[in-house]
Symmetry: C2
């Protein structure tokens, strides 16, 4: 989560909503790390999670990341939650809960839906306060 | 839908699950067209819809496609349904319904969830038989 937080902080400095994600293998080796790049790329699918998952699979030269963990500073949205399922990650660990836009513990609850054929283990609330504060500060500054 | 079907057929010839997608502007101009590229890229996020949305936004040099229609041969999965919402497309038109993996009319029902902040208009069942047959033939051949 330390690396994901660093990616989130770097994203904030670029004017992006501060979310960071890391994909690690079972030994804890970092396969990919990314921050949100929606504004820079003008691509709403360029969430940190999608970028990190795609990079990790490219590095592995395989579409599945069945033994990997996706660690992200914010509860993934439904797009990213479903992507983690499609990449078959073993575990999704996230920091802040997102009652408005999250799709794991809130809203679409992707992994509980019948459209989900692989549900990763989920751990929420890791370093929650730090992760949430980063977002709160970012939006407070913009208002 | 004719173009989306052509993209789906081309995908099948490449050994990809035959799904095709097209993004059009209000005048009917094609901004982007794509077929599924999951196998070629070894990237489970390379669904036809994501590729077409990303290309259309790149062509527009703007992250929102607020006046556009996404036409796709199969009911989008939750990842793609949420992506269409994040790109703020006006309308999602699809061919075959997907009771097992679809996320619009089935499963996670993305646009009805509280995590959805922009719900496109939805039209399902366009040239449904042709779209479904393409998928059925593809999977029948593989069995």
């Amino acid at each position: 989560m330390e690396l994901a937080l660093a990616e989130a902080r770097a994203a904030a400095l670029r004017g992006e909503v501060p979310v960071g994600a890391v994909v690690t293998d079972p030994r804890g080796l970092v396969l990919a790390r990314a921050g949100n790049e929606v504004e820079a790329r003008q691509d709403p699918s360029a969430h940190a999670e999608i970028l990190a998952l795609r990079e990790a699979a490219a590095r592995r030269r395989h579409k599945w990341l069945a033994d990997c963990t996706l660690t992200v500073t914010l509860e993934p949205c439904p797009m990213c939650a479903q992507a983690a399922s499609l990449f078959r990650v073993k575990r999704v660990a996230f920091g802040a809960y997102d009652p408005k836009g999250g799709g794991v513990e809130h809203g679409a609850r992707i992994y509980a839906a019948s459209s989900c054929h692989h549900a990763p283990e989920v751990v929420g609330g890791l370093r929650e306060t730090e992760c949430a504060l980063l977002l709160r500060d970012f939006f407070a500054e913009r208002r």
